[in-house]
């Protein structure tokens, strides 16, 4: 069994608890002065990678856990968080503030990175909570020609580089088996991410954080989608409250819902 060299892509996004506001120019959402964090699904990816090592779940062991993020300088904060949670090192691909990469571009970048880092397992979140596209992992697997398991709620390793993954699907779960190298995307039920402890946060400051650019990977950002506008969804007005169950039933009948 090959030793695992895990690549964990992470994304800096507006914190999940913040209600995003569309900017006045209707070109996007307000990001200035808004709390950002690691995409919640990416925390699950880091946690799972670290647990595979800690619980010695892979017969070949875990040789390396490398976190990678593409984004502005502030993306380094979440790479430090990833290292405080247990990643060995990190790569920051600096992209100018305000210059977004589309999932296809990120997948192309990750393909190069996975090849360069000799990764044999890439663990990504199933979607980022900003764009909600849910594409990058599948695109990466396609570009690499590797098998994929999406929306994983359980990952197990066996002999002969085999990986068994339980995936959340509509109506229940489905289990598939594939061989390394492969791409896995994480779903909510995979694990409960840990909080980085203060000593680990301090240690993470000493871990290696390599800075790179798209050009270093022989790539240039290319956009296929033009955002014409971003608007607020139509507001929903609450209809007020009723006193009792009879009021509820008659109101629902009035609205034709019963």
């Amino acid at each position: 069994m090959s030793a695992l060299r895990i690549l964990v892509p992470v994304k800096r996004v507006i914190d999940y608890a913040v209600k995003p506001r569309v900017n006045k120019a209707q070109t996007g959402v307000e990001t200035a002065g808004v709390k950002h964090s690691m995409n919640p699904f990416d925390e699950l990816s880091i946690e799972e990678s670290v647990r595979i090592r800690e619980k010695k779940r892979a017969p070949g062991g875990v040789e390396d856990i490398c976190a990678i993020s593409a984004g502005p300088a502030k993306a380094q904060d979440i790479l430090r968080t990833a290292m405080a949670m247990g990643a060995d090192r990190a790569i920051h691909v600096e992209v100018k503030e305000g210059e977004e990469l589309e999932p296809l571009m990120v997948a192309k970048l990750l393909k190069k990175a996975a090849e360069q880092q000799k990764s044999n397992l890439v663990v990504l979140g199933k979607q980022s909570i900003d764009d909600d596209a849910g594409q990058t992992g599948q695109m990466l697997a396609g570009l690499l020609g590797w098998p994929q398991a999406t929306q994983a709620s359980k990952v197990e390793f066996g002999e002969g580089d085999s990986v068994v993954v339980t995936q959340e699907v509509d109506g229940g779960v489905e289990t598939i088996r594939a061989k390394l190298p492969m791409v896995v995307t994480t779903d909510l039920r995979l694990n409960e991410p840990r909080y980085a402890s203060l000593p680990n946060i301090m240690k993470a400051k000493k871990k290696k954080l390599e800075k790179m650019t798209l050009e270093d990977f022989g790539l240039a950002n290319e956009k296929r989608l033009k955002v014409l506008k971003v608007t607020e969804p139509p507001a929903r007005q609450g209809g007020g409250k009723v006193e009792d169950v009879d009021g509820l039933v008659s109101k629902l009948k009035e609205m034709g819902a019963l």
């Binding site: 909600d132 697997a141 509509d170 989608l225 039933v249």
Partner: protein, 348 residues
Amino acid sequence: MFPAATKFFGRVSPPVGHCVSGASRSAIGRRLSTLAVLEQRGGQLKHGSLRSFTAAQKLGGHVHGFIAGSKVTAAAEEAAHMDGVEQITTVENEIYEKGLPESYAQLLVDNIKKGNYTHVVASHTAFGKSILPRVAALLDSQQISDVTSIEDEKTFVRPIYAGNAIATVESSDPVKIITIRGTAFAPAAPGSGSATVVPGADPKAEATSEWVSEDLAKSDRPDLATASKVVSGGRGLKSKQDFDKVMLPLADALGAAVGASRAAVDSGYADNSLQVGQTGKVVAPQLYMAVGISGAIQHLAGMKDSKVIAAINKDADAPIFQVADVGLVGDLFEKVPELTGKIRNSKA
């Protein structure tokens, strides 16, 4: 590409004898045509996936359907009766039965190239989410996910940030790959169509993953994603026993599907597949009844397009009341059984 030319020639035939440039000629040679990817299971057509036809018809141009699996003839015949559909491409081969992305994506790529399609549409279901991005990458196309509205052949509307913002995007890709939000497109009604059923290309792609098993929740209630009524329970239900005792009779009295908040699912009150929200199912029924659900933004993302929202919660300040058309403040353990009884009586 040549957006102006594509737009013009995509919809209208060019005037006869008109001198066209090489660029425009290639646009004529490639009239707008859409491949709608249909889902099946054990030979049974998944009717929800027919909504891809509704989206395909909004695009204009030719509409073809695609279906693959062990035995898909009957499902293909059924899909062929839908109005406005010209052709159903079928590939019968056991390797595609479980929709494993490695082989199925290659299958789709070959058939998209063979048919010279300009658009590919699938539902934003577990199947569509797993396979379409892989197809898009193989075709070097930037997919547009979870589309709620089609403005024209290259302009699409989709929610971002858990539905807190709505983005309108224009694609410059020659082959546009989109997944659609089922609840945003009308179900395709069986019509008098008589599409031809033709066998597609079969690359007999090697499956690099293997299907092992599945465990699907069995239920006689309506399917959550397409039900006209949904009753959904949250943390307020306290336990699985209480969830089942309180919510299931209400669902049955209403003929509704059962949903749940993330809190209820995480606490084990309900199955994962019942989760409604940004990371679970997105529903838009005629009636959504939220019981013991506070209304976090991630939950609202999955249900705020419902026609009528009713909420029962003991906390009068719960955010759910800001979106609910009708709210009742009270103990759900008293109010819901009373409601269930009254609905039953009114039907009797």
